[in-house]
């Protein structure tokens, strides 16, 4: 009887972890599928079809394909091509307007100072209205990017939690969830709530500055607001990255000790099957590490392909404004040059914010993808 009881307990001890692992694997697959479903259509275009079709444990090949140099270069080319068209159109429009302003000024009489000032005001107002009105759509595009990043991070959180817990990193899962939830709250309140209002404020200040012909110099004020905001946001991101790195390392160390103690206890106190349990746990840990690496890399790739077109578009638009500013200087259109320089600086501020958000998310995902399972 005693022998039978011992045999049953040993069998249960051997079967249950495997059964539990299979269940959790299914849960991880479901969470991964949910994450993939949340990937927007414009990001899907950059990824191979197999990336969305393969199950989590078999998606290594599709990940290799998606992350290959050829695919990344192709995506970069495509993103640049798409944005380059818009940027060139914008540059052509700016150049056309500047040439018109220059022709307009050359046609204007140069006898009366008052008349020529009134004409300069008229042409500056026209250029400012044209440029600022055409940029409104870009701000909405940026708002969409923030929402995409937020929805992707929200969709990836359950998968992260499941895979952390599968590897026995329960504390790391809690820490990661906490920090990423804080990041998402930050993204929602800071970015969606303040990036665009601050941009609007800076743009309206520069608009008024440009149209008053430098009578009231509001540019330094706009520059101060932008610099302070970018610095504060970078500091918060740095703080979050630091807390995430520190807490994850501590939590993982704690989880590893807890699971190794359990494995040691199983190996030492359960005769015969104890060693097998210990080995099984090691195999489960290795497979969880593999799944984490696959899911983490997949998420980084998805984020990268969401980030790339926006980054290229903002970068090229900024270049178009800066180049337009240089052309304005060439044509002696000083007021117009001020407007273009200000728009270029606003797009530089956008670049800083987009890049800092992306770096924060990639840092968190890299920690996740490279984390060793507690039982490993």
């Amino acid at each position: 009887m005693l022998r039978f009881t011992f045999f049953t307990v040993a069998l249960l001890v051997l079967i249950l972890p495997v059964h539990a692992a299979t269940d959790t694997e299914k849960e991880a697959q479901n969470a991964y599928d949910t994450f993939l479903q949340s990937v927007p259509e414009e990001v899907r275009e950059f990824l191979p079809a197999s990336f969305f079709e393969s199950p989590l444990d078999e998606s290594e090949a599709s990940l290799r394909e998606a992350g290959s140099v050829q695919n990344i270069l192709r995506a970069l080319g495509r993103a640049l091509g798409l944005s380059l068209g818009d940027a060139l159109r914008l540059l052509a429009k700016i150049t056309g307007l500047l040439v018109l302003c220059a022709i307009f000024r050359s046609l204007a009489p140069d006898g009366s100072v008052g008349l020529s000032r009134a004409l300069t005001l008229c042409s500056t107002l026209c250029l400012a209205l044209l440029l600022f009105t055409s940029q409104r759509e870009r701000f909405l595009h940026l708002e969409t990017y923030f929402n995409t990043i937020k929805s992707l991070a929200t969709a990836f959180l359950p998968l992260m939690g499941t895979l952390y817990a599968m590897g026995g990193n329960v504390r790391a899962a809690a820490v990661n969830h906490g920090v990423l939830s804080a990041f998402l709250a930050l993204l929602e309140t800071l970015c969606a709530g303040t990036v665009l209002p601050i941009t609007g404020l800076c743009l309206s200040l520069s608009l008024l500055d440009a149209t008053t012909g430098g009578g009231i110099s509001l540019r330094p004020l706009a520059g101060f607001i932008k610099r302070t905001y970018t610095l504060s946001l970078s500091f918060v991101m740095l703080l979050l990255c630091g807390v995430l790195g520190l807490q994850s390392t501590l939590a993982k160390a704690g989880d590893t000790i807890a699971l190794r103690t359990a494995r040691f206890a199983a190996g030492s106190f359960l005769p015969v099957v104890g060693g097998s349990i210990s080995e099984t746990l090691r195999t489960v840990a290795a497979s969880v590490e593999y799944l984490r690496a696959v899911a983490g890399t997949g998420a980084i790739l998805v984020l990268f392909f969401a980030f790339l077109p926006t980054f290229c578009s903002v970068l090229l638009t900024r270049s178009a404004f800066l180049l337009g500013g240089a052309i304005a200087k060439l044509l002696h259109c000083d007021n117009e040059e001020k407007i273009l320089a200000e728009l270029g600086s606003v797009f530089g501020y956008f670049l800083a914010i987009i890049a800092s958000l992306f770096v924060m998310l990639v840092f968190s995902l890299t920690l996740f993808a490279r984390a060793a399972a507690a039982g490993g």
Binding site: K93, G96, L97, L100, I103, F104, L107, A108, P109, G111, S112, G114, L115, S116, R117, A118, L119, L121, C122, S123, L125, C126, A128, L129, L130, F132, T133, R136, F139, L196, P197, T199, G200, L201, L203, S204, L207, L208, T211
Partner: protein, 128 residues
């Protein structure tokens, strides 16, 4: 070679003006005004294809309305400048200055809707 014709008209009227100043000084301003109107009219005829081209370009850049404001402002400035210089030639500095000021005001009045639009845009940007 429209320049030849215009140069001919200008030279001829200058010579006639020299004679008129001696014989009938009161007719000189009339001739001066007539010559200025002819030269300016010829200039506008010359510029009309350029203005049409500029208008077409502004239409392409969705700035047709703004383009018309710009051209009207340019027209006002040219006219005010011409009238002011004519008055200055007749020794009426005060009237010349008045015309310049009036032209400046008219351009500012023309710009008022644009200022309104700029303020509206700034308000819209602040509402993001």
């Amino acid at each position: 070679m429209r320049l030849l014709q215009i140069a001919g008209v200008c030279l001829l009227s200058s010579m006639v003006l020299l004679l008129l100043r001696e014989l009938r000084p009161s007719f000189a301003p009339v001739l001066r005004l007539g010559t200025a109107v002819i030269v300016l009219g010829a200039g506008l005829v010359l510029l009309s294809p350029i203005i049409t081209q500029i208008n077409a370009l502004l239409e392409v850049g969705d700035a047709g309305e703004l383009g018309s404001v710009l051209l009207r402002a340019l027209g006002i400035a040219l006219l005010a400048e011409l009238a002011a210089s004519f008055c200055e030639d007749m020794g009426e500095q005060t009237i010349a200055r008045c015309i310049s000021t009036f032209g400046k005001w008219e351009i500012l009045v023309l710009c008022l809707p644009l200022v309104g639009k700029v303020l509206e845009l700034a308000k819209e940007l602040l509402q993001y």
